[in-house]
Amino acid sequence: MIRDWTFAKILNTGPGTSIRDLGRSGFASYGVPKSGPADLIAYSWNNLILKNKPGAAQLEIMHPGFKVQFLAPTLISLAGPTAEIKLNKQPIKPHGIHEINYGDYLEIGKFELGAIIYLGIRDGFQSEEVLRSRSQYPGITKRYFVKKSDEIPYFTNQEIPFYPKSSTVKWKTDYLHQETIRVYPGPEWNQLAKIQQKTLLTQPFHVSEMKNSMAVQLDELIPNTLMQMASAPVFPGTVQLTPGGKLLCLLQDCQVTGGYPRLLQVHEEDHGILVQKKPGQCIRFRQ
């Protein structure tokens, strides 16, 4: 099989674009964050329909204005929000497989629904692998975030790969409309008064502007009457209560330990619902 090395040239990008695979497992005891995909649902779907390995690296794109040129033929797949996508200036469907030829341009415009688009590629992007993952993280990979004029390697066979056009699994955007997020009670859940527990599981919460790859803060206040605690293990999906009474939902790049009470733990399958919400959108926790 021909497997030539080629590049995807980043012509333009907003902040927050990064390379992701399933992240780093087994290094947390050295303080290394997981750095998996924020939305495992969209990420896994791309790799599935591209017939990639489950951990093939993709681009995680947070903002419109992204533009990339592929230097050689391949297949790509898009998943996540519905968005205005153009291939060589022609609008194309926002989800699923697209054929890429020499020098093709892909542009991502306005996001209609959701916050993070995944761009998968046949066999995955072949960027630097550090501590068994290509996911970018400061101090671990040389680059943090993908920037304009970066060249990200991938493999090409010098022709568009064959793929069965009829058998593709349909991308479902239902979860992007969903408000309910399933949770487990966290280690400090029992320190809350019954009334506080009830509030947490009934009232709606709104996603604030304070959002990055480490955490998203929610707007509503929960009076914090809990005792101070010593730093303890935390994970992506841990919902902490800050001293100021704000809920902080930890995401894929979060620290491995934290000093705030851990009230809830989001179901792994529901992380995608949370991360795809934009500031101002509503979520509800359900046990």
Partner: protein, 232 residues
Amino acid sequence: MVELKPHINQITPNWTELTWPIKMVGKYLAHRIACENWLLSAFEKEIVEIRAGYQSSSIIWSSTPDLPFLKETLARFEVNSTEVECRIWRIPVCYEPAYGKDLHALAKAKRILPEELIHLHSRQSYQLIFYGFLPGFMYLSGLDPLLSQPRKSIPDRVIQAGSVAIGGDQTGIYPMESPGGWHVIGRTPIPFFDPKNNPPVWAKPGDEIRFYAISSSEFEYLETVPTPLAPL
């Protein structure tokens, strides 16, 4: 002797948390580490990773564990068998103003001389409890209570890699450049995290960390000619 049996809490199908009634530092730390090692050997294939805090250890399983069997295994763990290797590492630190930008202000706030602050910081032996906050960031216990100082209300935008700092009742070393609210009292030329190595760190929980003062010219020498660090 405190009852050292951990409370077992199944948080999610894959996350079990062991919680002890006290902070597992000082003479109790070896117990936590031995307990983790015991579980890692008993469930070698089933455990994805263990991450620890002061009072708890979290076990991540590849699939939902058999809780009664886990309890039974923990019960067979001998409290006496807590021999844990402890190595001692001596870390060179330049406390001069070029590297310890907050040292003078901190000494002033503590109403001591900068030399006394350096002495109080470098005469202690610190115990490595766990890694957290940043890759390779050590949670160290043993700071002289005289040096304890609340974090800055407005964190610095950039703290240089290698910075040795004090925050609350802790001291620590920033392994990489990061924003941070701790008071920087010096800097070490020794790298604390190298992603090219596996493991990327050289010390283990339970090890002892000591600091000794070096001049800026020694700092520059060690920075140019990296000298491998060896335990005492």
